[in-house]
């Protein structure tokens, strides 16, 4: 017979083991991508797959020779950061009015905003492509910045709204009685109080922009193309070169992965929508 203590211990070991297994399963594709990026094309195709091989940097060298990684990376950075800043500039006042001056229609408005996320992007590809073409914005960073801002706006408004909802109304009213104007109330009281939430919202928006592929592939070719477009350019008509594709994917993911790793704590807060404090 097991004692209660032993059975509890067994339970916790089993649960721990299971968690590790699931985590490894989720992480495996990324690990495999990184491993493959250090293989030769022959090794990459090998069946059964090789876990032990002679690592090589030839894929990375090839990419440096064929394409200008820094150009794409700069585009990714410029587009993601600009779109995120623009998105917050619009979302903060919107969320403020919805959180603190709620009307009968506020909930519906929020739901309606979110419902736009349910539309498949390809459904509006044609009109948006034509708009971009007509305004001469095809293959410009500005086009992607505008699109990313609009695409992420619903989720960003939702998140900021949730954080603002956590701020007691009394504090803003106290500021008003203390003589603060609307702008002072926002800049000196509301935003500093919710800076944690705003940081995680910004982080999530950055990641979403960085990883966006559909619009970047369709609206950019060379000038404005971000890293996602660079990856896609390696699945060429001549066939799939797994090792090179893996190398370029690793290069594209690395910055945001490292960024995410550093800011893990903020991100978890952001994703739990203010539930964890």
């Amino acid at each position: 017979m097991m004692t209660l203590k032993q059975s509890r211990r067994l339970q916790s070991v089993a649960l721990g083991g299971l968690s590790w297994l699931i985590a490894l399963l989720i992480f495996f594709p990324i690990l495999w991508m990184v491993l493959t990026s250090f293989k030769t094309e022959i090794d990459a195709f090998a069946t059964p797959p090789l876990f032990f091989f002679h690592p090589t940097l030839e894929n990375y060298i090839h990419i440096q020779e064929r394409s200008d990684y820094l150009h794409f990376a700069w585009n990714s950075i410029a587009i993601s950061f600009s779109a995120t800043i623009l998105c917050l500039l619009i979302a903060v006042p919107a969320a403020y009015s919805m959180a603190f001056y709620e009307t009968k229609r506020t909930k519906q408005t929020l739901l309606w905003m979110l419902s736009t996320k349910m539309l498949p992007p390809v459904g509006v590809l044609m009109p948006i492509y034509l708009l971009a073409k007509g305004t001469g914005l095809l293959d410009t960073k500005l086009a992607l910045i505008i699109i990313y801002t609009l695409v992420n706006l619903p989720i960003v408004v939702w998140m900021v709204y949730t954080y603002f909802k956590d701020v007691p109304r009394d504090i803003l009213e106290a500021a008003r009685l203390d003589g603060a104007t609307l702008l002072q109330e926002m800049l000196r009281v509301l935003l500093p109080i919710s800076k944690g939430g705003l940081a995680s919202t910004a982080l999530l928006s950055l990641i979403l922009c960085w990883n966006e592929a559909f619009w970047s592939l369709n609206l950019s070719s060379s000038q404005a193309a971000p890293l996602t477009a660079l990856i896609a350019s390696y699945s060429s008509p001549e066939g799939l070169f797994w090792a090179k594709l893996s190398a370029v994917s690793t290069l594209a993911c690395a910055p945001i992965l490292i960024f995410g790793w550093i800011s893990q704590k903020q991100l978890v807060r952001g994703l739990s929508f203010g539930a964890v404090k």
């Binding site: 504090i171 106290a174 008003r176 009685l177 203390d178 104007t181 002072q184």
Partner: protein
């Protein structure tokens, strides 16, 4: 100088009338307490005065100036919230100087005002802490300090003590009374706690259902409640009510026959009072006593007793089923289940007509 006048003030939310026409004058240096059950509109009334809610109709005048449409920032009022509403990201010093900083005051002057307020409230050692590092009572004092530094025309308090524990509440109540003496400021205070109302106020405003039931000094309201509501709301334990009918009327008073089975001659009279009118007799626990032998009394059955040491509050039931509370000596044995005879001193009784309005008391009216 700060006097406030409310003129036929009304407020409705989505068709529902919350404040139904309030006329009130708050004099300079007065400590006015709005008291009433929850939902009576007392907090809404305070928020209307502060400018945090828009008035539906009526006017608010501060020192003769109409401020009905003036923004809260420009009313020169300071408010202490129930939740304290301190700025969590600022130190105590910053919290207290925030309003003066916004107004662009001279730095040294601001510093001096904050230091003065901190000294009055004994907050000096805490000036560099953040609100989360303070206890409930300390936060409350910071909230009051934030109001003091502004030297406002009127201080508004919205149930400031209700988040504190019982012991701290008593202490803060005393501090507030002392502060009022020291600052000689006009204060308006909202509470549902009638003990706070009785102990702090110069003037109590009893609100019910968006209307003023009665305005007066605490003792005036306690001894001369204008109606059943005020009589039942002020005083712990509550005043007991006994139903009955007028059995005789003369110039100096009337005789009432209670459903509980007692005839009582009372010094209450009114021109409208007629024989056969239904009335309610009210009497406070401290005015009921055990009848001595031979004295006519009300027969009751003792229920549970609450022994407080100094006093015992004995809950009893009249034969008509109406509950009463009697204040007895603290060392008395528990009379649970016993039949008791209670003596009702006619001079201490209150009488209310069928509408619940008080019938005037000949002796007290003369006094």
């Amino acid at each position: 100088m700060a006097t406030l006048k409310l003129k036929n003030l009304k407020k409705g939310f989505e068709g529902l009338q919350i404040i139904k026409g309030i006329d009130l004058e708050v004099l300079d240096k007065e400590f006015v307490v709005f008291v009433g059950p929850s939902g009576c509109g007392k907090s809404t009334l305070l928020r209307l005065i502060a400018g945090l809610e828009d008035v539906s109709s009526g006017h608010i005048e501060l020192d003769g100036r109409d401020i009905t449409e003036v923004s809260p920032a420009k009313r020169d009022l300071a408010m202490v919230f129930q939740t304290y509403a301190l700025y969590p990201h600022m130190t105590v010093r910053k919290n207290m100087s925030f309003a003066l900083d916004l107004a662009g005051g001279d730095k040294a002057e601001v510093q001096r005002k904050v230091d003065d307020a901190a000294r009055i409230l004994e907050l000096t050692p805490l000036l560099d802490r953040k609100p989360r590092q303070l206890s409930g009572g300390q936060r409350q004092r910071v909230a009051i300090g934030r109001a003091i530094v502004r030297n406002p025309k009127i201080f508004l308090f919205d149930e400031p003590l209700s988040n504190l524990d019982a012991a701290l509440r008593v202490q803060m109540r005393l501090e507030l009374a002392r502060l009022h003496q020291e600052l000689q400021a006009t204060m308006i205070y909202v509470t549902h706690d009638q003990v706070e109302a009785m102990t702090l106020a110069n003037k109590v405003v009893v609100l019910n259902g968006g209307r003023i039931e009665q305005v007066g000094s605490p003792l005036e309201l306690y001894h001369h409640p204008a109606n059943l509501f005020v009589a039942g709301f002020l005083g712990t334990p509550k005043m007991a009510f006994l139903k009955g009918k007028v059995s005789a009327v003369d110039t100096g008073g009337c005789e009432v026959s209670l459903d509980a089975g007692l005839q009582l001659a009372l010094p209450h009279s009114s021109a409208a009072l007629k024989v056969g009118d239904p009335v309610t007799l009210g009497i406070r626990p401290e005015h009921l006593e055990l009848a001595t032998a031979g004295q006519p009394g009300l027969s009751v059955t003792a229920d549970v007793s609450e022994r407080l040491g100094s006093d015992t509050f004995c809950h009893v039931l009249a034969d008509s089923g109406e509950p009463l509370t009697v204040r007895l000596r603290g060392d008395l044995n528990n009379p649970y289940g016993q039949r008791l005879q209670l003596h009702l001193g006619a001079e201490h009784c209150h009488l209310f007509d069928a509408n619940g309005d008080a019938v005037s008391h000949a002796l007290r009216a003369a006094a």
